[in-house]
C-alpha cells in the first residue's frame, strides 16, 4: 500500500510537483477535451479491427479520462490547489495464447491502430516462452451500457472557496483544541472509463471517489515528546455529500466515529483534544489482551489478513516476486474444512455495496459485478478471480474484479471490497466492552505490516483505551498487536450488529509490476478478539 506515502506527502505539505501524474481537472475547463460516446466507440472499433487484422484472438480497449483534485492546507494556510487530467487508451490482446498490452496518450486513429499492432507484436515475442496459454472464462458481450456512481453532489462542481474554507475551519478547530500543527487535504477522483471488447461490449462508466483526511500533531516542547492523531474519516465512493456531517450518521462514544457522512470540523476538534491526551497516556504493559476493534481500525486488518490472502493470483504464485504468495492454498480451499476463523466469522467480497470504493457496474474486462462469500461461517470457501483465472479453480464465471489504475496500465485481478458480515444478535460496542475483563479498545488505523504469505502481522492504531473489568479506565499509548492470521480470526468471539456496520478503506492498495494502486473499502461492525499479544513500542534513541 502507498497510503503512507500519500500521508507523508500531505504531511510534509509538498506542492504539485511531487504529485502523481495521473490526476485531476475541472470539468468546466475541460469540456473541449471530452470525447462523446460515439467517437469513443469509433476509436475503440479501430483498435479492435487492427488487433484482429494482426492475428489477435481477443482484444479489449479502454479509453480513459482521469480527473483528480487535491486541496492542501496546514494550520491557517491553503498551500496549493491542484487539478490533474490524464487521457489515453490501453489495448490488451491475446495472440498465440499470450497476453500483449500497449498504451498511448495519442488518440489519433493511426496511433491507436499502431498501439494495437504493438500489443500483438509483444504477445508474439513472448509466446516463444509461453507454457500456459491464456484461457478466458466466457463472457457474453453486453452491448452498449452505462453506469455512474450514485452521487448527490459532484465534488468537481463545488467551489474551491468552499473546500478551502472547510479545511481552514477544520484546522482552526484542531488548533483551538490543543493541536500544535495540522496538515489537511481534500482529495477527489473521477474516472471516466470507456471499455470495448471483441466480445461485443461497449461500456461507459463514470466513477467518483472522495477522501478528506488530516494529521494533527501535539507537541510538548518541555519534554520534547510529540503525538499524532489522524482523521477518523474513510475514503468513500461518494460525492461531496460525504462532507455534510449529518447528525444521523454520527456515533458518539469515547470519541465520535462516522458512518456515511463525515464532520471534518468536529473530528479535527476531537483530534486536538485526543492528541493532547495521548501525550500523558499510560504506556501499555506488554502482554495478552482481549481486543475490541472499531471498524475505523478493523478495515485495515481485514484488508491485510483476508483481502490479500484470498487473491487467487497470489495463491497461484503470479505475485510471488512482489506482493507475495498466500497461506490460503488450494488444498485448504479444496478440503472445505479449513478453519480460517471462528464460526461467527463470515467475510464476503463485493463490487456492489453503495458508497464503497470498489462499487462499479462492470469491471475492467467487461464483466458485470456481484457479491460472493470468501469465508463462510469460519470456513474458506472461495477466492477472488478474473476471466483468465477462474478455470484454475474449476469455476466457469469471472468474479468481476479486474482493474487497471489508468489507461496506461494493464488490467489485472484486484481486490474487491472485502467485508466482515455484521453479527446476527443485537450487540453494541458498549455492551461488548461490558464483558471484557482485561482488554484494549482500538479506534482508527495506524502502523501496519504483514508477511508475504499473510501469516504474521503487526498493527498499531490511533486511539487506545484500556478496559478493566468491563469499564474503560483510561487512555493507553505505545500499543501494537502481533498475531497470526488464522489464530486471530479464530479468536473472534463477538461481532456487533448491523447498526454499527461502517466502511473503512484506502485509495492506495498497491500490487503488480509495474506497481499499480487500487481503491478498496472494507466494512465491519466492532468485533472482539480474545488473548492477542500486545507489545510496547516505546524506545529511546
Amino acid at each position: 500500500m502507498h497510503r503512507r506515502d500519500f500521508l507523508k506527502l500531505t504531511g510534509l505539505g509538498l506542492g504539485a510537483m511531487m504529485l502523481p501524474t495521473v490526476g485531476v481537472v475541472h470539468p468546466a475547463s475541460l469540456d473541449a477535451a471530452v470525447m462523446d460516446t460515439a467517437d469513443k466507440k469509433k476509436l475503440a472499433d479501430i483498435a479492435l479491427n487492427a488487433a484482429n487484422a494482426k492475428g489477435a484472438t481477443y482484444c479489449d480497449v479502454r479509453i480513459g479520462r482521469y480527473l483528480n483534485q487535491y486541496v492542501f492546507a496546514r494550520e491557517n494556510k491553503v498551500q496549493n490547489v491542484v487539478d490533474t487530467l490524464s487521457m489515453g487508451v490501453g489495448i490488451r490482446v491475446i495472440a498465440n495464447g499470450t497476453w500483449g498490452f500497449a498504451s498511448t496518450d495519442d488518440l489519433s486513429p493511426d496511433s491507436v491502430a499502431k498501439a494495437a499492432a504493438e500489443a500483438v507484436a509483444i504477445a508474439n515475442a513472448n509466446a516463444v516462452y509461453q507454457t500456459e496459454p491464456v484461457k478466458l472464462a466466457p463472457q457474453q458481450g453486453v452491448g452498449e451500457q452505462t453506469w455512474k456512481t450514485p452521487i448527490e453532489k459532484n465534488a468537481f462542481n463545488i467551489p474551491i472557496k468552499d473546500k478551502a474554507d472547510l479545511l481552514l475551519a477544520a484546522n482552526a478547530a484542531a488548533m483551538k483544541n490543543g493541536a500544535t500543527y495540522i496538515n489537511s487535504v481534500l482529495f477527489f477522483v473521477n474516472e471516466q472509463k470507456y471499455f470495448a471488447s471483441s466480445d461485443g461490449s461497449y461500456i461507459d462508466q463514470d466513477i467518483h471517489r472522495i477522501w478528506p483526511t488530516f494529521q494533527a500533531t501535539v507537541i510538548d516542547s518541555k519534554s520534547g515528546k510529540f503525538q499524532n492523531r489522524q482523521s477518523l474519516s474513510a475514503p468513500m465512493g461518494m460525492g461531496y455529500e460525504y462532507l455534510d456531517g449529518k447528525a444521523s450518521e454520527k456515533m458518539k462514544g469515547e470519541t465520535t466515529v462516522y458512518r456515511n457522512s463525515y464532520d471534518m470540523i468536529e473530528d479535527a476538534a476531537n483530534a486536538g483534544k485526543e492528541g493532547k491526551r495521548k501525550l500523558t497516556a499510560k504506556s501499555v504493559a506488554a502482554g495478552k489482551y482481549d481486543l475490541v476493534l472499531d471498524p475505523s481500525h478493523l478495515w485495515l486488518t481485514i484488508h491485510e489478513s483476508v483481502g490479500h490472502p484470498t487473491e487467487l493470483d497470489r495463491v497461484l504464485g503470479y505475485e510471488a516476486n512482489y506482493a507475495g504468495t498466500s497461506f490460503a492454498t488450494l488444498e485448504k480451499w479444496k478440503s472445505k474444512s479449513f478453519k480460517y476463523g471462528s464460526p461467527i466469522v463470515t467475510l464476503f467480497a463485493d463490487k456492489l455495496q453503495p458508497h464503497s470504493l470498489g462499487a462499479v457496474g462492470y469491471d475492467d474486462e467487461g464483466v458485470p459485478t456481484k457479491r460472493w462469500d470468501l469465508i463462510k461461517d469460519g470456513i474458506l470457501v472461495n477466492y477472488q478471480a478474473i476471466r483468465d483465472q477462474v478455470q484454475l479453480i474449476d469455476q466457469q464465471e469471472s468474479h468481476g474484479c479486474c482493474y487497471a489504475q489508468s489507461w496506461a496500465d494493464v488490467q489485472f485481478q484486484r481486490m474487491p471490497n472485502v467485508s466482515l458480515a455484521a453479527g446476527s444478535k443485537p450487540l453494541t460496542p458498549m455492551d461488548m466492552i461490558k464483558d471484557v475483563e482485561k482488554g484494549i479498545y482500538i479506534i482508527g488505523d495506524g502502523s501496519y505490516s504483514i508477511d508475504q504469505q499473510r501469516y504474521n502481522f503487526q498493527f498499531g492504531g490511533q486511539l487506545f483505551y484500556e478496559i478493566k473489568n468491563g469499564k474503560i479506565v483510561g487512555m493507553l499509548k505505545d500499543v501494537a498487536y502481533q498475531s497470526n492470521t488464522q489464530e486471530f480470526w479464530n479468536s473472534c468471539v463477538a461481532i456487533c450488529d448491523e447498526r454499527d456496520y461502517r466502511l473503512g478503506g484506502s485509495f492506495f492498495d498497491g500490487k503488480g509490476q509495474p506497481g499499480q494502486v487500487s481503491a478498496v473499502s472494507h466494512g465491519s461492525a466492532t468485533a472482539r478478539f480474545n488473548g492477542v499479544t500486545v507489545i510496547n513500542t516505546d524506545r529511546k534513541i
Partner: protein, 442 residues
C-alpha cells in the same frame, strides 16, 4: 512523442509560459517510454509498453497559487491547463508561505542516458525472462517469478523568472524471486542500472536460484536480539530502513519538534553525533556508479552534499520557504545517497561472525513511532543462522521492531558498497538487532 529532445521540450514549455497571464508561472514537463515483462510459474504472464507525457503548470497571483496537470499537449490543451492553473490560483486564499520562483540557475551535468538501454526490444526482454525461467525448469524443483523493465525518461522545467532545465535518462529495473517447489525455500535478486551494458541477466538470476536452494527447510530460532549481517537489499528498497532515515531528515519537521532529530525546547540534533563514527552518508548526482538528476523539480541545483559525516548530522533538507525563514541555504532533498563502507565482501563478514543471522532482504517495512524512527517489518527470501564464521542453516523468517538510529549506533563492520535503487550502500554487520516474533512465511 514520449521522449522529447531538449529543443522540443523547450518549445512546449515556452508555449505554456507564453499563455500565462499570471504574475509567475512554472512548467514541468516529463515523459516516459518503457517496456516491461513479467513472469511467474516459470512462464511469461503480462508484458507491455507504455509511453506518456505529463505537463504540470503552477501559476501564481501574488501569494495565491494553483496547479494543473495535463497530458494533452496540443496548443489548446496546453492553454486549457494554464487557464485552469490560473483559475485555481485566483480562487485559492493567499498562502503566506508562498515563495517566488527561482531565477536562472547553473547546473552540474551527469550522464544518465545510455543508447544501450534505449535500444532494448521486446525480444531482449523475453530473453531476460528466459534467463530465470530456463534454469529453474531445468532444475525441476524451482519456480521463477520476475520482472524486467527498461525505460527512457526526460524531465524538463522552465519558469517566467528565467530558470530552465532538461535531463534525459535511461534505466533498467530487474528483480527475480525463485521459490523451491516444496514451498520451503525462496531467493531474491534486485538490480538497477542506467546502462544496459552493465546488466547480466544470467549472473543476476543465478543469485536468486542459489538463495532459493540454500534457504530450503529453515529451522525456527527464538526471537530476540541478534547480531545480523544485513545485505544491501535488506537496507535499501522503496521502504528500506536507510531510505526512511535519509528522507526523514527534513529541517522543518525537526525545527517544529516532530522528528527524530528534534530535541527538548525547540532545538535539533543538527551538528551532533547521533551514529557510530563509521557512518558517513552523502549525495552526489555526478557519481559515475549512481548518476542522478542534477536539479530538483522546483529548479534547485543538486550538488554533492554531506548528510552524515563520521556519525555527525551535517545537513538537513529544506523547503525554499523554510530556508528563507531560517536564513540558510535551501538544500533540496537528495537525488541519491551514498554510504561509505569498506572492502569486505559478505563472505568476509560471515567469516568474522561467531554467532549471528544473515538477512538477505527486509520487507513490508512500516513506521511504528516517528519520535524514535521505530520501524517494523520482516525478513524474506533467505535468512540464515551463522555460527563460528560459517552459515550453519537457514532460519524461519522473523519480524523485527528496530530503529535505523539504533541500528547505525550498533555497527560492527561495513562491507563493500553496492548499487541499490540508484544509491550505493554497503552490507552491514550490526549487533543487538531486535526480532520480536517468528513468521511461518516462506
Amino acid at each position: 512523442m514520449a521522449i522529447l529532445t531538449e529543443a522540443e521540450a523547450k518549445r512546449i514549455l515556452e508555449k505554456a509560459l507564453s499563455f500565462s497571464k499570471a504574475d509567475e508561472c512554472e512548467a514541468n514537463l516529463s515523459g516516459i517510454k518503457s517496456g516491461n515483462i513479467r513472469y511467474a510459474r516459470n512462464t511469461i504472464t503480462t508484458s507491455g509498453s507504455q509511453q506518456s507525457v505529463s505537463l504540470v503548470i503552477q501559476s501564481s497571483f501574488g501569494k495565491r497559487v494553483g496547479s494543473a496537470t495535463t497530458n494533452e499537449l496540443t496548443d489548446a490543451g496546453i492553454e486549457r491547463a494554464v487557464r485552469r492553473a490560473e483559475e485555481l490560483a485566483t480562487l485559492a486564499p493567499e498562502n503566506p508561505e508562498f515563495v517566488k520562483n527561482l531565477g536562472k540557475q547553473t547546473y552540474l551535468t551527469s550522464t544518465t542516458y545510455f543508447e544501450s538501454t534505449a535500444n532494448i526490444t521486446a525480444a531482449y526482454r523475453a530473453k531476460v525472462a528466459a534467463a530465470g525461467i530456463e534454469p529453474c525448469k531445468k532444475n525441476g524443483n524451482l519456480t521463477a517469478a520476475g520482472f524486467f523493465q527498461s525505460s527512457e525518461r526526460f524531465q524538463a522545467m522552465a519558469n517566467t523568472s528565467g530558470a530552465a532545465a532538461y535531463q534525459v535518462s535511461s534505466d533498467i529495473e530487474f528483480n527475480l524471486t525463485v521459490r523451491s517447489n516444496d514451498g520451503t525455500g525462496s531467493g531474491y535478486v534486485y538490480r538497477d542500472v542506467n546502462d544496459a551494458e552493465k546488466f547480466d541477466a544470467v549472473l543476476a538470476s543465478q543469485i536468486a536460484i542459489d538463495k532459493a536452494l540454500q534457504s530450503r527447510e529453515p529451522k525456527a530460532i527464538e526471537p530476540g536480539k541478534y547480531t545480523v549481517i544485513l545485505e544491501p537489499s535488506a537496507l535499501v528498497s522503496d521502504e528500506g530502513l536507510l531510505n526512511q532515515l535519509i528522507f526523514s531528515m527534513d529541517a522543518r519537521q525537526a525545527d517544529e519538534g516532530r522528528s527524530f532529530l528534534s530535541k527538548k525546547g525547540g532545538k535539533t540534533k543538527l551538528g551532533e553525533k547521533m551514529f557510530d563514527e563509521r557512518v558517513t552518508i552523502y549525495s552526489d548526482p555526478q557519481h559515475p556508479d549512481v548518476p542522478a538528476q542534477t536539479w530538483s523539480s522546483d529548479g534547485r541545483p543538486q550538488e554533492k552534499t554531506m548528510w552524515i559525516e563520521n556519525g555527525v548530522v551535517k545537513n538537513l533538507f529544506y523547503s525554499r520557504y523554510w530556508a528563507e525563514k531560517k536564513n540558510v541555504k535551501a538544500v533540496p532533498p537528495p537525488a541519491n545517497f551514498i554510504m561509505q563502507g569498506g572492502d569486505a565482501s559478505i563472505e568476509d563478514l560471515i567469516k568474522d561472525t561467531k554467532r549471528g543471522v544473515l538477512v538477505s532482504r527486509l520487507w513490508y517495512i512500516r513506521e511504528v513511532d516517528p519520535q524514535t524512527l521505530l520501524y517494523t517489518g520482516l525478513t524474506r527470501d533467505g535468512t540464515f543462522f551463522i555460527e563460528n564464521g560459517k552459515i550453519k542453516h537457514p532460519v524461519k523468517n522473523l519480524r523485527f521492531n528496530e530503529s535505523p538510529v539504533i541500528m547505525l549506533n550498533n555497527i560492527e563492520a561495513l562491507g563493500k558498497p553496492q548499487r541499490m535503487l540508484g544509491n550505493l550502500v554497503p552490507p552491514m554487520k550490526v549487533r543487538d538487532f531486535t526480532f520480536t516474533s517468528l513468521s511461518d512465511a516462506v
